[in-house]
Symmetry: C2
Subunit: 200 residues, 2 copies
């Protein structure tokens, strides 16, 4: 059985990666999202094993100490992580897993699974990025400045990624992401079994 | 200036690569074909520097001895070759070069320019390949058998290529080739200048 793809998408806040990923997932039903583990409490309607794996902090930390996460982080006092076994088992079965994740998370994943497909979404310009952060209108001036400065630092990590997509037009960016996935599936290394079948 | 792509497409005879490459080139005007050098005489209407660079055997062999070809071969007593400087100069200027070439040629090119994009076209099955060779109807029984046996040997070299496309439907295969080129253009390594421009 040929391994599935692990597609990891990141980008600075305001680059529009959320919209791109949503449209991409709508159109590509063979791409599955992973279920994260978290120590935060379930919100109304959230189900364990569907929205998240809800864990106690104790269990979460034990999993951390046993390297059972592809990546994890503490966000405002709650832990969030991507369970390694869950993802790698699916990939081994030939399923494709799609992760939209921040840059720190992506870098952790790359160390454990360098065979993943790492895609970085860029804004058309830093000016446009700032405008997008401002247009959201949900953040204070100091938050905006912090996010904007942070974006510069984050883009430095682009060299750790395989592909870069400039998000000037959403539809164009989604098509590029689709092309990247199609190309990765077409790699000789990923098609050994198909090739052997043809030669039979 | 970002370097252009060198896209090299091969496949066993009967795999349908000619049709795929023709359609691909019709639709992708930023892909340029290279001009080969040859020692054969010009046919009626053929122009030097347009259809081929027509060279004497003496000049051709001198170029071979000075490693001035990306690849060359002797076909039925005439030499054919891809001039290295011609192709690499265009790539350096940011032009994309597309070469449909036999496997021996592609392997020679890969040694000199490993940064190329090497694509192998496969038939959907070896049975289908044989049928396609037979349907051409231009070859004797022994030629057909030779080509068919040769195809098996050639496919062994697929591991030297980056991508494999199974030609079950021409349109699907052309789209895959287009996706591969789009993905290769999206590689971070090939977009350093664009990324720097965004950060300005």
């Amino acid at each position: 059985m040929a391994e599935g793809l692990l597609v990891v998408v990141s980008g600075p806040s305001g680059c529009g990666k959320g919209t791109i990923c949503r449209k991409f997932l709508q159109r590509n039903e063979d791409m599955n999202i992973s279920i994260s583990a978290t120590t935060r409490s379930p919100r109304r309607g959230e189900k364990d094993g569907v929205n998240y794996f809800f864990l106690t902090e104790d269990v979460f930390k034990k999993m951390v100490s046993k390297n059972e996460f592809l990546e994890y982080a503490n966000v405002h006092g709650n832990f969030y992580g991507t369970p390694k076994k869950y993802v790698l088992d699916k990939i081994k079965k030939g399923e494709n897993i799609f992760l939209e994740i921040d840059i720190q998370g992506a870098l952790q994943i790359k160390k454990i699974y360098p065979n993943g497909v790492f895609v970085f979404i860029l804004p058309p310009s830093m000016e446009e990025l700032k405008n997008r952060i401002i247009r959201r209108g949900t953040e204070s001036k100091s938050d905006i400045d912090r996010r904007y400065k942070n974006a510069f630092k984050e883009i430095e990590y682009i060299n750790e990624y395989d592909y870069a997509i400039v998000n000037d037009k959403v539809e164009k960016a989604v098509k590029k992401l689709e092309s990247i996935v199609t190309a990765e599936k077409s790699k000789v290394d990923r098609q050994i079994e198909l090739i052997n079948k043809i030669l039979l």
